[in-house]
Subunit: 411 residues, 2 copies
């Protein structure tokens, strides 16, 4: 029997306890050991639970208990999770976490401490909720040189965009609905301003390309300014708007990482990922494109990934899993404005004909878009492919029209 | 340095050698060891290759070489692959294979021999080519009780169906094209009659539910009889025809497994899997639905999965991966006709009105379908959900119409 502890008894933490209890028999078989929750850290009390006697408010009860071999950190946030995880690893306990903020900010440091103490630090649940993606990237695609990852990494924003696309709901109404259904927080900023997706693309990029990338190095734009008119223009060219996290290797040396809303072609698999679902498309030199799809959040899906990591730690108490990346180095992350892209532009113009003449003169073959009930002073077009920086300079210099919305194109 | 051998230097075998050479540095890092191809078994000679000195025509050169720790079997077929794999495992060598026929027929026996000899027998490439699916099911979804797997498991038949759907190509023309492009063999039976998909659903069912299922226990129907009229009726109700492999747990006791062409709703993620791509949707009690998508065949994608298994064996020379299922037991596989399904029926009738009256009398609320240029003596409908067996009996007893095509519905 192996003792474990859970730090935090919120949505995910209670899900972890539930899954461990519900599927006990078959989890023991997989782990080749019975897994026993010895302690749960939470400041609240849960007198009505079967396992109310397992709760403690004192982290040291867990840290100093040498019989506890594996700790699941599911509190979220940097403090005190960071100190707790560091202390557990240093004490020779393996740690699993669903905490994307922690891994995106402190992953390299915690992986190094785990290595030094010959224990495991696993965090499958930090990206894509329950979707298996970090372990497949690290193990199953080990034979590949990976060069790009593109994903829909935030279920809440994807839910909002899906409602705007499928039901022509306004951004405000879709956000209210998401909040009512419990998909979005009262302060929805982490989801709709792209911070959550940003943390996840940091983790994916760090794992795929081998060096830590911090959220501050990722150009991040959310979906707050998307309007139904953008949705309609996208539809007119057989595209849908998705919040995309993207990272790619440039010249095998530097890395670009960005989060932005994009008009995704309906021919792209990512375009059919709807509602609260997530999907991560990984590109490698041997494998081509592979995609992982599923529920990116939620109590039981996330708990499923945390418990899989616990099982892996229990099986590998004497051995380390290979999951590692190095610390950041200078000049490793390139400005995403250097990337070659196509841009969608919605603009206002007093004289549409003159504005289009100018646009065609500047961009050569811009693709002009139309929608129903298009306002008389509104136009929209897609630029040819060029450097993001150069395109934005060209757009800002247009005299006859004024850009209102600029979004990326993903074919 | 760890020595390995490759049995077979066909498409996959040469791909394995290529990937191991091309991504040597980073594969060594992952495997924590340099991997050296010491011998390659093939009856042919390849004098122009850099590594022509590694070839042998004598299997015993590999079997008796105690310095060879891992063997990749990529010959295909049961004989002599079965004898070779058995002998290698018994000699204490770990074996990886891409051979779905071998795993579907002999998986339980080979897993048992591997267990007895404390070596690994891995076969990620046998399902979904390069798509990571077996390892994620076994490891990442370990916390779940899985209850259903539905997949598009054969790229060739999916390519043919995609051409019929997107370009209104006839079955014959699409098959010829697939043969011309090298996707289909001269004798295309394994692909288009469902045998290949059948082997893969056997492997998935065995792994997910823990007991071996043989191809002979799986009701298997291919795509040979699909016509463009079926494609059009499917389109009329917002569906596409896909060759589906499906397995599910019934009452937590028995298992149903089947391969058949089905009209898949466009709301289902599987409907957008086009061309030679494969996708496997796995359903578990905690995770909900997860889907794995990618190239299901091809030299480098398949080699990518074989090499990932080789890396895993090299890393675990002293430890066993948990990947196992038991032998078959009596009455474990239920007749798939017991499953509750909806069926699509295309039929001929002299008097359409009378035929529809009868259909509505028999089925209550059958959904009638229409297509452009519908022949005067043709009708099509979708039954309500009921037992497959009962529905087929009802269809066969219809007096006023004669069923020409009966296909499954997947919502």
């Amino acid at each position: 029997m192996i003792n474990i502890a859970i730090l935090g008894h919120g949505v995910v933490g209670s899900g972890v306890a539930e899954v461990l209890e519900k599927n006990k028999t078959h989890i023991s078989t997989k782990a080749k050991n019975e897994i026993n929750i010895k302690s749960i850290l939470d400041l609240r009390e849960f007198p009505d639970l079967d396992y109310s006697n397992k709760f403690t408010k004192n982290f040291n009860d867990i840290l100093e208990d040498d019989s506890i071999k594996v700790v699941a950190e599911v509190m979220g946030g940097i403090n005190p999770a960071y100190e707790y995880v560091k202390a557990c690893l240093a004490k020779g306990k393996s740690v699993v976490t669903s905490n994307k903020e922690l891994v995106a900010q402190k992953g390299d440091e915690l992986l190094k401490i785990a290595l030094e103490n010959n224990v495991n630090f696993l965090f499958e649940a930090s990206v894509g909720g329950g979707i298996p993606v970090l372990r497949p990237i690290s193990q199953c695609l080990a034979a590949n040189d990976l060069y790009e990852i593109v994903g829909i990494l935030n279920g809440t924003s994807n839910f909002i965009l899906s409602k705007m696309i499928d039901e022509k709901m306004s951004m405000e109404d879709a956000l209210s609905l998401a909040q009512k259904l419990g998909y979005a927080e009262k302060d929805p900023s982490a989801d709709i301003d792209g911070h959550d997706a940003c943390r996840k693309i940091c983790i994916l990029a760090s794992l795929a390309f081998g060096k830590h990338i911090y959220p501050s190095q990722v150009s991040t734009e959310g979906i707050r300014n998307i309007t139904l008119s953008d949705v309609e223009y996208a539809d007119s060219c057989n595209r849908v708007i998705k919040l995309i996290g993207k990272t790619k290797l440039v010249n095998n040396k530097t890395v670009i990482a960005a989060v932005y809303p994009a008009l995704v072609s309906r021919d792209n698999q990512l375009s059919s990922v709807n509602g609260v679902f997530n999907a991560i498309m990984v590109k490698g030199d041997a494998i081509g494109d592979v995609m992982f799809y599923g529920q990116g959040a939620g109590k039981l899906p996330t708990a499923s990934a945390v418990v899989a990591d616990i099982i892996d730690c229990v099986k590998h108490l004497q051995a380390r899993k290979y999951l590692f990346w190095d610390s950041a180095v200078d000049n490793y992350v390139s400005d995403s404005l250097e990337d070659t892209v196509k841009l969608y532009v919605r603009a206002q113009a007093d004289d549409i004909t003159k504005a289009l003449d100018e646009i065609n003169a500047v961009f050569g073959n811009a693709e002009c878009l139309n929608r129903n009930n298009q306002a008389k002073d509104e136009l929209a077009f897609i630029t040819p492919a060029s450097s993001d920086r150069k395109l934005r300079q060209q757009i800002s210099k247009l005299q006859k029209s004024k850009a209102v919305s600029i979004l990326h194109i993903i074919d």
